[in-house]
Amino acid sequence: MSSRIAQGGAINRQQVCRFTFDGAGYSGYAGDSLASALLANDIRLVGRSFKYHRPRGILSAGSEEPNALVELRSGARREPNTRATDIELYDGLEATSQNRWPSLKFDVQAINGLFSPLFVAGFYYKTFMWPASFWEKVYEPLIRRAAGLGRAALEADPDHYEKSWAHCDVLVIGAGPAGLAAALTAARTGARVILADENFVLGGRCLAERRTIDGQPAADWAAQAIAELRSMPDVRLFPRTTVFGVFDDGVYGAVERVNDHLPVPPEFQPRQRVWRFIAKQAVLASGAIERPLVFGNNDLPGVMLAGAVRTYLNRYAVLPGRRAVVFTDNDDGWTTAADLVAAGGQVAAIVDSREPVIVSELARRFPDIQAIAGEVNGARGGRHVESVEVTSRTGTSHRIDCNLVAMSGGWSPTLHLTSHKGNRPRWDEERSIFVPDMLPTGMRVAGAANGDMTLGEALVTGFRQGLTAAASCGFSGSMPALPRVTEESARRVPLWRVRQALGKCFVDFQNDVTTDDVELAEHEGYRSIEHLKRYTTLGMATDQGKTSGVTGIALLAQRRSIPVAATGTTTFRPPYTPVAMGALAGHHRGMDFRPTRYAPSHRWASELGASFTESGPWLRAQWFPRAGETDWFEPTCREVKAVRSTVGLCDVSTLGKIDVQGPDALKFIERLYANNFATLAVGRTRYGIMLREDGFMFDDGTAARLAENRYLITTTTAHAVQVYQHMHLCHQTLWPELDVQFVSVTDQWAQFAVAGPRSRALLQRVLDPRCDLSNEAFPFMACGEVALRNGEPARLFRISFSGELAYEIAVPGHRGDALIRTLHDAGQDLGVVPYGLEALNVLRVEKGHVVGSELNGQTTAHDLGFGRMLSTQKDFIGSVLGRRANLIDPARPRLVGIKTVDRNAKLAGGMHFIPQHAQRSIEHDQGHVTSVCYSPILEQWIGLGLLTNGPDRHGEKVMVVDPLRGAETLVEICSPVFIDPEGARLRG
């Protein structure tokens, strides 16, 4: 550990952390970042750049890092593009460099650098066009392999993620001096405060500077502030937590890296947690980001931001280079020189681009350091900086040997979160920075984020903003005595680029965007800042332009000879720093992607070995295989035959059920349904159809009149929620005067179809013997309350989806399991069989009943043969637009039955109708097949379809074609009702 300073720093030298980088072993201390540990081990070359594969090192000490990206961990936990400056070192950490081949030191694609005159901004828009077919085959695969950065893991992430909410009065974002000050004054008023900071240690630049507050080191002041905050019950501290987005109405998105500082999260603990902070007020104290200076080869490893150098010196006790040159356009750079000297480093020169008079004044304070009023033209070195070329204002040139260049182009307020809601920052010409302008409601800004760059200003504005934020929430307090702080100055004369550059001058390091690229884009007319950004890709890398954005704008302004204010900025959008998709997904993945709803008979069906399928959110039994049955076909046919010959049981609880009550219940459902309900007697059920207001079919179901003013209506499984909302919309906005109440009871009732010639016999064994199920007492479409043999109440409906004598029996949901077992047991000698969705589908196709494939939102009542049901006597939803000529046009595709002419031929849903001898082309397309099944009763494939003029074409032979799969067959058009068209069986 040759670069570790013997004393100081916020690291724990008792706790050694071993880690590997590109397979080699190193060690650091707890409290290190991966970047500081690498520097301590004299590792300077960390990555390769995106386009030219130039060697890159560590530029910064925070989340703005564009260069030092690594793949962290391995296998299923591999995290590409992870910033070494952000990673908290832990014992066992594994990091690998990325975007290089075969090795970091020798990267073949660095040859791209030789072609860099070709690879200018937007070069790819101008070439790779000939021949056209070469793009996918040749150019694109090459580009793709070269591009990209790290490699994603290929296996499922083994870790877990959580989502949580937290409410507070005042959210303080950033725990540097301003944030701590704001949290203190807000919390002391009694307000509920949340303080979040992206770093793993709270304190911000208090940890990185050798400054004093009231005579004590700033880090100690921060520690005391944190201790005080921690002692207050209504304050929550969130280190390792990035507030990544500002959303509407005081919603702040944040991600807490709960266990990223461990090799693997402890059992039952999440890796990360996404928070939604709901805050009445927020104080943004996110500090500032230092700008690199733009000179030749400013991307060489060893060229660092001056403030980052201080962080490494003071917080991590690492000397990033023994012999440094400081290059600055502002006073702050000089502090770095002082810190370097204090840490035992050697400062070969300070190069300050400002007027000699300013430089010589400052130089008086540093008699031992050579101060040059001038500029660094370029850095030299292979994989690391070895020297710099400097030209003084007097015109003399020097080469100065060094292995560290600390550069400072001044600091840009970290104001990203102020503009997430669309507000753009304002250019402050005097200070040459963008500052927040219009703010999101409830947000205020303190400290450097607001352009108040000195420690003293940070504390004052922090105290004040914390207090006013709390006051806005109704809490009062007073300003504390202002602490005494070390004096400092933030004077700056911006140097956007050096006048004479040696080598490439990078503006955006990660995307390899140079000053030449900016100039070319402007020259070619990409003059709007948005065009510049998109054409050059400036600011579009994983660091989102944190270190490059402002410089890019200023260079464009300079080039166009317009003020920066007229250039504007691009939009800042969430997330502030990239967020793992898994964290945003939380628990909703794998089998828990969406909730699973189980029907009341699920356990019973599982015990019988049923195969299940998804039906929206529900899992429903598809078929109930018996021993020896290996596919879907055999059990389905057996179940269908049983329903047609003995009796079958099927869980139909998933259908929506809505209980409608009140004096105006009839009026209400009359307006909802397209057909007549006025004549429905108590104790009777009727099939009904609902239209949308645009006249197309919405849903179908039954309405049972349970009492004078009470109806139980059913909906399809798919539309249960929509119908319920629609009914409320109609009631609350169209007819609020109707005295009617309704509630969804879908989950409250378990309902089973008991279908088949022996259904009556089976039910008689289960129901109270006094219950008369004769045709006279309980005819087709009857409904009523009944009792089970044990006295429990139930509802019985004599309705049939299969066309057989059939009933549906309903009991309270929790009794469903018991009832289905009772029914199953009681019917053994009657030959009872459970049947699933497949058999249900065959039964309904045989009977011509429509379901979702026909009720697809594109069909009308006329299309489906319900035209005559539409009442002409009343106004109902859809009545007016449903009458439009195009909706009742007989030439529309309308419902028909089809059966194959060749009895061995198969059918498939989605086939299209084509006249028998016509070409297979779109002019002859006459509709499509909606539902098909093999009918074990008819012993052939049959189906339903929507065919132009369909009902008028019964008996005609038409081709159904499936060019997608190369199949076609001839079918005969017939009535959609294949079985018992007279309905004798269901009335039996």
């Binding site: 995106f50 101008k126 056209a132 990209g148 893991a153 898994g582």
Partner: protein
């Protein structure tokens, strides 16, 4: 005059510091009047102007853009192109667009990185499969390519998809191999450069604030840069259609909705084609630079804000991780939002309006990007001839009144459900 782009001109320029490139388009002052004005400098407006000049020999055309060209939806989408539609009114139009894409770069002399990597729509149950088959067959009957892939074929293509632990297991997919992605900004810039070279005036920072009419129809537009006369004005300002149309007193079957889209950090090649997830609303592809580009549903409420909220972000990530569990540790880099011109049946409008000489190109919903060339082609035809182009005949404004709707997913008159 613009230089011709080629590897040779690029080599030549690279030897002399790229000083010889001409600006991609001029920055002209508006003339007092034009034969044609296209309102909106997005993809559709620029394409319209280009085809007016190229196909109809119009030499006096202006495109008026309130901000910078390509700043609307053409610059904020997920760059997908495809023609895998279902409804008869849609397929021929989108297939024309697909064919135009296939020759666009040579035509415009601008590499838009058209990448026919395939578009794969996954299905997860029998009824989704039947719907895919119905659509695939409609495509075949139109002469459009499509393939039905089974589960194993999908697994081979997407080994990282969740086949073993999925809530809604993948059954298969409908693949259109000719579908893919196009570099979106390049489309706007390529059309702009090509239109400019044919004499079209592209006027940026010029917002239309009024539409003047006399007894014979439209006479010109008031703008922030003064009055500009024209008897043929086309509105191609999706997102803001209702606002501009209201200047002529028109009320339209359109709502403006918010669609967010997302990009991940750059990764080495992972997702080989465009994939849509059938158990939710999610689509993903990988850009040439390595970022995964993905999106999902609308936020669901009317909005002109061009930014969205967190619930939708979370929903989209849930779907992404459910589809490809390895995406869990991949980071979302950036999000953006666009204003969708959501029509009442989910399909576009290219038609005359009640005002003579004022034409409408609108209602593109999510589908606007892939439609760009055909939309320009057909709108130019309508503006130049006053007759609808053959493949855009169904895109009439009166179809909402007559009921000849083109409702691909059967959602009815609910713009946020299309």
């Amino acid at each position: 005059m613009a230089n011709r782009y080629s590897i040779f001109s690029l080599l030549k320029e690279s030897l002399r510091g790229h000083r010889g490139w001409a600006p991609a388009w001029r920055d002209p002052e508006p003339k007092p009047a034009y034969d044609f004005i296209v309102v909106g400098g997005g993809g559709h407006g620029l394409a319209t102007a280009y085809y007016l000049a190229k196909n109809h020999n119009a030499r006096n055309v202006a495109v008026l853009e309130k901000g910078y060209i390509g700043g609307g939806n053409v610059g904020r989408n997920t760059t997908i192109v495809r023609s895998n539609y279902l409804m008869p009114g849609n397929i021929p139009f989108y297939e024309l667009s697909m064919k135009l894409w296939e020759g666009l770069e040579q035509d415009l002399n601008y590499n838009a990185m058209i990448s026919q990597r395939g578009v794969l729509n996954l299905f997860h149950n029998d009824s989704q499969r039947d719907a895919c088959v119905r659509r695939g067959n409609a495509m075949h009957l139109h002469g459009v390519d499509g393939e039905l892939l089974n589960r194993e074929q999908v697994r081979k293509l997407l080994p990282m998809a969740d086949f073993d632990n999925a809530r809604f297991p993948i059954m298969g997919g409908l693949m259109q191999r000719r579908g893919g992605t196009v570099r979106h900004d390049a489309v706007a810039w390529g059309f702009a450069r090509a239109a400019d070279s044919l004499g079209v005036d592209i006027i940026q920072n010029c917002e239309v604030t009024g539409i003047r009419q006399d007894d014979n129809g439209v006479t010109g537009v008031e703008t922030t840069r003064g009055f500009i006369g024209s008897r043929r004005i086309g509105m191609a300002c999706a997102g803001n259609t209702s606002r501009v149309a209201s200047l002529a007193g028109l009320r339209l079957p359109i709502e403006s909705h918010l669609l967010q889209a997302f990009v991940s950090e750059g990764l080495k090649p992972l997702v080989p084609c465009v994939v849509t997830f059938g158990a939710g609303h999610f689509y993903i592809s990988q850009s040439d630079k390595g970022g995964l580009v993905f999106g999902g549903n609308l936020d669901g409420y009317n909005s002109y804000a061009q930014r969205g909220n967190l619930p939708l972000v979370e929903e989209v990530c849930e779907e992404g991780v459910a589809l490809f569990p390895c995406l869990s540790r991949v980071r979302m880099l950036r999000s953006w939002g666009g204003i969708m011109d959501m029509s009442m049946d989910g399909s576009p409008i290219i038609d005359r309006t009640a005002v003579d000489g004022l034409y409408l190109n609108a209602g593109w919903c999510y589908g606007g990007f892939k439609a760009t060339p055909a939309s320009g082609w057909c709108f130019a035809h309508l503006l130049a001839t006053d007759q609808p182009h053959e493949v855009a005949r169904a895109y009439r404004l009166d179809r909402f009144a007559t009921g000849r709707l083109i409702d691909e997913n059967g959602s009815g008159a609910h713009p946020n459900r299309h």
